[in-house]
Every structure is written in C-alpha cells, then in structure tokens.
C-alpha cells in the first residue's frame, strides 16, 4: 500500500544503473565481504533503493543551505581538561584479543 502523494516516488524515475563492479567497490570501501552468491541480489536491492532516492535530483535546491543539524546547532566545545579516568583494563577486558595493554590483530607488516 503506497499512499498516493508518495506514489510518484516509485514511478517514472530514471534508474541510475549500478553494476556488480560498482557494488564490489562500495563493499570494499565499506569493509564488508560479499560472497559471489550474494552479489546479484545485493546489487538488485541497492539499485531499487537508489532508484527510489533518485527523485531528489528533480527538486530545485538552488540557494538552499544544506541542513546537518535539525536545530542548526553548532558543535559545542569544552575546556581542554582531562576529565576521564584511565579505564584501559575495563575496556580491553571485552576485546576479542588483547595482551599487555595492546589489541591483537593479524600481522600487518611482514
């Protein structure tokens, strides 16, 4: 059920075609592995979503300032003072692998 005022969203907009290769590149940027079996369906679904959002291109936004914060608030700053206690041990206690205060990951440099 698509409410009438919103139907236009799904009709008649140009699809910005997206190819498997492009999805692979985005997956690489996202740090998410996608298997060969999944790539077809993932591409299809993302193409549908991009088609849906593409209707924004038709809107005239000349001279409209982008809005990053709904209250147009600006980043608040605080005095540069140490306020946190060192809780390294508590934080590392929940790490998948940590030793001697260090997080362990596979070897990066040969």
């Amino acid at each position: 059920m698509i409410p009438a005022p919103f139907k236009a969203v799904f009709n008649g907009y140009m699809t910005m075609a997206i190819e498997h290769g492009e999805i692979e590149k985005i997956a690489e940027l996202s740090g998410i592995r996608i298997s060969d079996e999944e790539i077809g369906q993932v591409t299809e679904r993302i193409a549908e979503i991009l088609q849906m959002v593409d209707q924004l291109q038709a809107v005239d936004t000349h001279n409209i300032e982008p809005m990053a914060n709904p209250l147009d608030a600006i980043q608040r700053l605080r005095p540069d003072e140490v306020t946190e206690a060192n809780r390294r041990d508590a934080f590392q206690a929940i790490a998948p692998a940590a030793e001697n205060g260090l997080y362990l990951v596979p070897k990066v440099i040969e």
Partner: protein, 488 residues
C-alpha cells in the same frame, strides 16, 4: 498489579500498598510465564532486578525516594548497561557487555527505577517490524501473527502485553511511534537533543532520539521527567531547560489550533484507519480545539531524503564495528583486511549491510553532492514546511502509520515496502520535532495510532493534548487477550 499504570504504581509504593520487590517480582513472573509468545525481551536478570528493587524499597522507607523509585522499567537493548549485555539486536554485539551506563540508564538508576530487562529490536534499530533482530522477531500481543512494529518492537510488545509498566525506545524515523501505534500503546519521540544520546548505540546521529513508551501519556510524562536533561557528555544535547512534563497535563484544549496536513490523508491511507483518526480529531474538536487544514508540500520527499541521510550516517557510525576492540570477531582471519571484512560480513544482518552500502555509496567521491548534500538541502525544505505551519497552529495531527500492523513475513523480502511504513513519521525526525503516537481505535482488532507533532521543545503541549484525549477515551485501556493469561 500488572494492570496498573506507572502513576498508580508510584502512588501504591508511596502508600505502602505493596513494595518494589512485590511489583518487580510480579513482572518478572509475567515475563517468565508469557514472554515465550512475544519474544519481547532479549535479556532479563531476575537477581539484579530484585536487588535493585530491594534498594528502592530502602529508599522508599528512609525518605530518599524519587518519583520513579521502585518502578520497574524495560529498556530497549540499544542503551548501554554497565555489566549487562547490550546486543542492539545484532550478532555483532551478542557478546558485548558495556563497561558503562548510557546517560538515560544512569538517570533511571539514580532515580531508583528498577532495570527490568533489555528488549528486542530490529538490528541496530534498522527496521519497522522487529524482524531483522538476530534474536528472532518480537510479536504483537494483539495477535502473535502480526509484527509489533519496529524498531522498538520489543518495548512496545512488552508494554502492550503487560510485561512492563513502561519502557524506553529510540526513534530515528518512527521507531517509537510506529510500534506504539501497532501495539496500542503511547510513545513519545522528544525533540532532537532533548534526551542524551550518550551510550545509545548510534544509528543516524542527526536523527536519533530516545523517548518513553507506556500505556498513558501521563506515564510518558513521568518517564520523560527523568530522561530529559542537558548532558555535557553529548555534544548535541540541548541546553534548553527541561520542564516538569506532568505540570500541564490537565490544561484544557480551549483555543488549541490543530493542523491537519492534507498530505497525510490521501489515497493509500487505509480507509478504516483514516476513520479512526477522523473520530479522534472530532474528539479533540469537541474539547475546544480548532482543526486547521494545511499543507506540508515536501512530504513526498521525506522517504528518499531519509534513505540517503540515515544510511550515510549509519555507514560512518557502524564503521567502529571492526572485530578489534569489542563485539564479534570472525574465526581465523588471514590478514587485517580479512578480519574487518569477514567480521562485518558475518556480524551484520542483511538490512544493516544494505544500509551501510547505500550510505557508503552516497558519501563516496563523485556522489556526495548529488546525494548527501542534496538530501541535506531538501531536509531544510521539509523543516521549513513545518515551521510555516507552526506559524498558524500549535500542534499537527494525523495518522502514525498508513494502516494497522501487518503479518509477520508480509514485507520482510521487500525493503522499499517496509520503508513506506514510516511515511508519516520520517519527516518529524528530519525536522527534529517532537512527535507522539497514542491509541485511537481499532481496525479488525488491530490498534490504530494517532500521531501528534509538536513544535521544537513542545513535549509538554503534546503530552497535555494526549492526556486530555485519554481522559475522554478508553482506547489506551484495552488489553490484548494474550496478556490476560498466566498467573497473577
């Protein structure tokens, strides 16, 4: 016990009709007996809850009690709880036990409220049906074949099923209001920045906001009194002073101007749902409010705008889940790249990955201006629509959802039809406004939600209108049959 409102429980505790241990045990027993039909909780720690209840009883006895001391409250499993797993409905955080409390949790604890348990939710709050949870879907107490809505579906189901007197939720595009509507309860999404986001697993940081879910507007006001406050640890927390949200609940509605946006009543709104909303508006009119027809011309753009901004922010927020510092890590990674990409492949569900990919695309080189920047410009147009209307009206009213709760599985393979569930709620988050949903009738036994939208920091007014509506109607007092079973 379990049919009492928070306000009634507060009174009973004060008058020593029962203790917090009595109340807490009653709810724990109900969860034990009935939650197998709803799957509304992910984690319940009976011993910890009873310990907190005992401490609350001591405070009640020695005169140091607060308004919510001794009241058991369920929390969406998105709020970090010190020492208690916070999964966010994801395999990625299935083993995550936070070393600190979210500000909201800390405020409830200081007030002496009892943490009853952590509720089910769509994975990382991405969904409108609770079906994307790693722990399986929560179910709607009005019919367990129906979804409870999402993403705060477990909180809504727990309150509707009388397994908790009240709960917390979060709302990025409708995640408090839509499940509240589907489950026949009352839920409030406050103004952006009204409630601290510290310790809430971040989804879309310019949209996320936490709020109360309960059976009545009065109970929501009681919870909001504890939740709303400036938090120096959240840089987007508002410095606007919080109010006593119970103070004006009973104010009459004489002269109130209610805007009715034509875009929210078009073809596509389920006819029977529309009739319930019309009836609800007539009730408000009969109490002295004036209905003003108006237009929010950019309404149709809320969905595409949201589905750029929210995934873009999600893709950056969820970059932190990398298998290194906490949470899930894949087995036997061959190198660092494999560790990241396989951890995220295995740890995230389908919808979460989809949104990360869309967001990464929208932010990537060459597309940023066409997508993210464009969406932020249209976001301003959407907000301006509301600001123009609020020059003429005090609140805006309409349906919360296009129709009542749908069947489990009905939309789970069609992301875009799922996204449409939030067609009337998304714009409110984009504009940073407070919005609420309250019970306004039934369609074939399924609850219908009336949505009220207020001006920035106009929570007290919304709660006042909702409370007056609930004084004259009894939709919020109906109880699903499934909740009548069990002991007590």
């Amino acid at each position: 016990m379990h049919t009492k409102s928070v306000a009634q429980l507060v009174k009973g505790l004060r008058e020593r009709q029962f203790s917090s241990v009595d109340v807490t045990r009653a709810y724990l027993d109900r969860i034990d007996a009935l939650d197998s039909q709803y799957n509304s909780f992910i984690t319940v720690d009976d011993a910890a809850a009873l310990t907190a209840a005992k401490a609350a009883d001591e405070r009640l006895a020695n005169g140091t009690a607060n308004a919510l001391t001794g009241i058991p409250i369920a929390h969406k499993d998105i709020f970090c709880t010190d020492g208690m797993r916070t999964s966010c409905g994801s395999r990625m955080l299935d083993n995550f036990v936070p070393p600190y409390d979210a500000t909201v949790i800390q405020r409830f604890k200081s007030a002496g409220a009892v943490l009853l348990g952590k509720t089910n939710m769509d994975e990382f709050a991405m969904g409108s049906s609770n079906e994307s949870s790693f722990y399986g879907p929560a179910r709607n107490p009005w019919s367990t074949d129906l979804v409870p809505g999402g993403s705060s579906g477990g909180s809504a189901a727990a309150v509707a099923g009388l397994l908790a007197p009240a709960a917390t939720g979060t709302d990025t595009g409708g995640s408090i209001r839509q499940p509240a509507a589907f489950c026949g309860i009352t839920g409030l999404k406050p103004t952006y920045g009204r409630v601290s986001r510290l310790g809430i697993v971040a989804f879309a940081s310019s949209l996320d906001q936490a709020g109360p879910m309960a059976r009545t507007a009065e109970d929501c006001a009681l919870l909001l009194n504890t939740m709303a406050a400036h938090d120096p640890l959240d840089s987007t927390s508002s410095a606007v002073a919080a109010e006593d949200y119970t103070a004006t609940l009973d104010d009459d509605l004489q002269g109130l101007r209610i805007g009715v946006p034509t875009e929210y009543f078009g073809e596509g709104l389920d006819t029977a749902t529309g009739k319930c909303i019309d009836q609800a508006l007539k009730e408000l009119e009969s109490q002295g409010a004036a209905l003003v027809e108006m237009s929010l011309p950019h309404s149709a753009l809320a969905i595409p705008t949201y589905y750029i901004i929210a995934p873009a922010e999600a893709s950056t927020n969820l970059a932190r889940f990398d298998g290194v510092r906490y949470g899930y890590r894949c087995e036997n990674p061959t190198d660092l790249r494999d560790l990241y990409s396989r951890t995220r492949q295995e740890g995230f569900g389908e919808e979460v990955k989809r949104r990360i990919l869309v967001g990464t695309y929208a932010l990537s080189a060459g597309y940023y201006d066409a997508y993210y920047n464009k969406a932020q410009q249209i976001r301003r147009l959407i907000k301006q629509d509301f600001m123009h209307c609020f020059e003429q009206v005090d609140v805006i009213a309409g349906p919360t959802t296009p129709g009542p709760a749908f069947a489990l599985g009905a939309k789970s393979n069609d992301p875009i039809s799922m996204y449409l569930e939030d067609v009337y709620t998304l714009a409110v988050n984009l504009a940073g406004l407070p919005g609420m949903s309250l019970p306004a009738g039934f369609v074939e036994g399924k609850p219908v939600g009336l949505q009220l939208i207020g001006q920035h920091f106009g929570e007290a007014r919304l709660l006042n209108v909702a409370h007056r509506f609930q004084r004259a109607t009894d939709w919020h007092l109906h109880t699903p049959n499934s909740a009548k079973g069990g002991a007590l």
